[in-house]
């Protein structure tokens, strides 16, 4: 069942340098209880798409068009008062940097019980009891004492656990996690991801996970959307994306990560960098970096299509890629082949160097 439906969302930032189109005509849906991943490099529009859902885009940014439906209600048409009832209650968020997400002058416990009192109308003592339970649930030992600790008395991993406790405090339908483990060490990351996975099941919460790390996506998500320059370039189930990627950018991304046990092979790279969002390339935005680009790619903008049939697909498609190769516009075929797994462990496109 569909929980969140984002249709044709466009977000622009009006900066002194020019108009940045951070998210361009983006559509996606998240089902109840689904773990939905958004992956891409910096500047792809991942975070902006997440912040838009909670209407947290600040000046000079503006949500220009589109709709964001939560259980059929358009969040963009809500009054400020109504949206405040959604934030932290039906939709909550975990930020990358737990240290800045926590207020240093309130105790951790007060910060966790605040949304419980506010949204669920618990009394002070009831809220405290629930906050202590939550601290215990997210794996913080000695929760009774820890309730009155200040954020600086927690380690980085524990701070992130506290933020997760806060996010889960009102039993949300959707949890948006924006790079929740990027600032953490690999051991702490493993523990937090484990916890997030377990809690999402326990609370039956849908997760929108934003990350640049394909390893994290592979571990947590059911469905993935790859973003590039504010647009989705590919959407697929996690298995399809890793074993049968359809967009040259996805392939390039996978080929450029070092894999353990791959031997002394040279990394494949995507030449160049993500374009400036003030002045994106015409046609397919990826064409200047794409090894398969042809003249038509500089002129014709590809839509999200089903790679098997070439027909345009909507936001809720199981499979989609935006590349002209699937609409018959290219003279040549995409020639990458993909092998993931024990034998060789490589995803390869055409080498560019």
């Amino acid at each position: 069942m569909t929980l969140l439906e984002v249709n044709n969302l466009t977000v622009r930032f009006y900066t002194a340098e020019g108009v940045v189109t951070a998210v361009d005509d983006l559509s996606f849906t998240i089902d109840r209880g689904e773990k939905f991943g958004i992956v891409g490099e910096s500047g792809a529009g991942k975070s902006v798409s997440a912040l838009s859902v909670l209407r947290l885009i600040e000046n000079p940014g503006r949500i220009e068009s589109g709709e964001i439906l939560l259980d059929g209600e358009n969040l963009l048409e809500m009054s400020d008062k109504e949206i405040r009832k959604v934030r932290g209650n039906r939709v909550s968020m975990i930020f990358q940097d737990a240290q800045t997400a926590l207020n240093p002058v309130y105790t951790v416990g007060e910060q966790i019980s605040e949304p419980i009192r506010h949204h669920l109308d618990y009394s002070e003592s009831e809220a405290k009891e629930r906050a202590i339970e939550l601290l215990d649930t997210v794996g913080i030992p000695d929760p009774q004492t820890r309730y009155s600790d200040y954020p600086h008395e927690f380690s980085g991993g524990m701070q992130q656990r506290a933020v997760i406790a806060m996010a889960l405090s009102c039993d949300p339908d959707l949890l948006i996690a924006d790079e929740p483990t990027t600032a953490l060490d690999v051991m702490t990351e493993a523990k937090i991801l484990n916890e997030l996975d377990r809690l999402a099941e326990e609370f039956d919460t849908a997760v929108q996970l934003i990350t640049h790390d394909l390893g994290v996506i592979a571990e947590v998500c059911d469905h993935v959307m790859v973003m590039y320059a504010g647009q989705p370039v590919e959407t697929a189930s996690v298995d399809d994306l890793f074993y049968d990627p359809k967009h040259p950018y996805t392939v390039g991304l996978m080929a450029s990560i070092p894999r353990i046990g791959a031997g002394d092979t040279r990394l494949q790279t995507i030449p160049g960098v993500m374009p400036d969002l003030i002045d994106v390339p015409t046609g397919c935005t990826f064409h200047p970096r794409c090894p398969y680009a042809e003249d038509v790619c500089t002129q014709k903008e590809p839509g999200l299509v089903d790679p098997a049939t070439g027909t345009e697909v909507g936001a809720d498609a199981d499979r989609g890629a935006s590349c002209l190769a699937y609409t018959g516009d290219l003279a040549n075929d995409l020639t990458f082949d993909v092998t993931v797994g024990d034998a060789g462990q490589s995803v390869g496109g055409e080498s560019d160097d």
């Binding site: 070092p258 791959a262 960098v273």
Partner: protein
């Protein structure tokens, strides 16, 4: 041993302690606290080789890298650099004895690439001046020759020579890192310490920089010390890898061997938790207890013993490592807890309990064992007796008495004996009592070769 086989850099017993700013009274009384950021580190670096240094944040990687070049002064130890002379022989230079002017001269051979490409370039200098500055300082080139060399360097690292007149803010993160690399290359160095050079970059750009570093190594016969927290990056670029934990080297081995058959339990655990970019990958993740302890008060004995999943049980008891790990967890948590119900929440399976629930001794015993995953009964009757005694004390007298008894009766050799870095195979060094003949016995489990981690070769 021939000249060729001698390491270009040899580090012995290198330590760096930071003094903590205690209170005024503390300093008057001569009391001081020290953070032992790096302690007694030994390693060698050979010509043309990349030595990777990995570890979690706070393990002393960066301090190690900076002490090597004396960007911070090491507290103790020796760093021998073998400088190539004009006749091809190598002269030994002890870096820790050098005056600062002699050291400045040596910076021609020893260079550093910084983590943050945004903070390590002067925003008020043009790229040409940033890359040309080392040439000026060391009087390597001037005038048109200098400008020519700057253009050449920019080309080597994949930038356009016309970029020499631009300022750092006009470049992306990856390009800035290239500028930093060009600056390091300007003096034609022998050794470059790369401190997390790609961790601020996106994956596609990271791959470009890693390839560039490899190409430059081949072209100029450079030796790298590559510091990073990302294990797959380190595996990719390094010939040998040293794993650090709390300021010490836990294990060092050729890269392939370390990743295929880690010997130190810490390495084993670290490797097990790398998020694998493969949705169907199933591995047994070893999630270590707790956080890295503070370097201000590192644990006695093996520094890893407070989190080790393969901790050695004392000889007098016949119990396995898993059961002992559980007992160790209980023992470590008792001093942290403020009450008995509190103690139970510290267990991996521990949940909040009411005081009434543990009023009866047998209930407490049951709940405590399940919280800490302690077998009931323990396989060794003496150990079982001792544990029952502890639980009774916990029930009757409280935490302090139970803690004392635990400290008295359950002591692992890992808590008291500090392991040496021993060579188990050629070039494979590990600092763990599991490989010490005195403590090794038949029943102990050591990390196994990870068959699925080695695909080819």
């Amino acid at each position: 041993m021939t000249e060729r086989d001698q390491p270009i850099l040899e580090v012995r017993n290198l330590s760096k302690y930071y003094e903590m700013g205690g209170s005024f009274v503390d300093s008057l009384l001569g009391r001081k606290q020290e953070v032992k950021a790096v302690e007694s580190v030994d390693f060698e670096l050979y010509k043309g080789e990349t030595l990777g240094v990995v570890g979690e944040s706070g393990c002393g990687k960066t301090t190690l890298g900076r002490s090597l070049l004396r960007l911070i002064e090491p507290t103790d130890g020796s760093i021998i650099y073998r400088q190539e002379q004009e006749d091809g022989t190598r002269e030994e230079i002890e870096l820790t004895d050098l005056s600062s002017s002699a050291l400045r001269g040596l910076r021609r051979d020893l260079q550093y690439i910084f983590q943050d490409p945004f903070a390590s370039l002067n925003p008020r200098m043009t790229v040409g001046d940033i890359v040309g500055e080392p040439l000026d300082i060391h009087n390597l080139a001037s005038g048109e020759e200098r400008n020519e060399r700057v253009r050449e360097l920019l080309e080597i690292v994949g930038l356009s020579p016309s970029h020499a007149y631009r300022y750092p803010h006009e470049f992306s993160g990856g390009q800035r890192q290239r500028i930093g690399i060009a600056r390091a290359l300007a003096v034609d160095p022998e050794i470059i310490v790369c401190d997390e050079p790609v961790s601020a970059l996106d994956v596609s750009v990271q791959a470009q920089i890693l390839n560039l570093l490899e190409d430059l190594q081949d072209e100029f016969d450079l030796s790298y010390i590559f510091i990073a927290h990302d294990l797959s990056v380190v595996e990719h670029i390094s010939d040998r890898v040293a794993v650090m934990y709390l300021g010490e080297i836990a294990e060092a081995a050729p890269s392939e061997r370390l990743f295929a058959s880690p010997k130190h339990p810490y390495t084993e655990a670290l490797l097990s938790v790398i998020p694998e970019p493969d949705p169907n990958w199933v591995g047994n993740k070893i999630l270590l207890e707790g956080d890295v302890p503070s370097a201000l008060t590192p644990p006695d004995g093996c520094r890893f013993h407070t989190r080790c999943h393969r901790i050695i049980p004392p000889e007098e008891y016949d119990i396995d490592q898993d059961a002992w790990e559980s007992l160790r967890n209980l023992k470590l948590r008792v001093p942290d807890a403020s009450s008995v119900p509190d103690l139970i929440t510290f267990g991996r399976k521990g949940e909040l309990v009411e005081d009434e629930a543990i009023e009866e001794l047998s209930r407490l015993d049951e709940i405590l064992r399940s919280a800490f995953e302690i077998p009931s009964p323990l396989s060794d009757p003496t150990a079982e007796d001792h544990l029952s005694e502890v639980v009774e004390l916990l029930h009757g007298e409280g935490l302090d008495a139970a803690g004392e008894t635990l400290d008295e009766l359950f002591v692992s050799p890992c808590e008291t004996v500090s392991p040496e870095l021993i060579e188990t195979e050629r070039l494979h060094q590990v600092s763990c009592l599991l490989y010490d003949d005195e403590y090794r016995s038949g029943g102990l489990e050591v990390p196994q070769t990870q068959s699925d981690a080695v695909a080819d070769d």
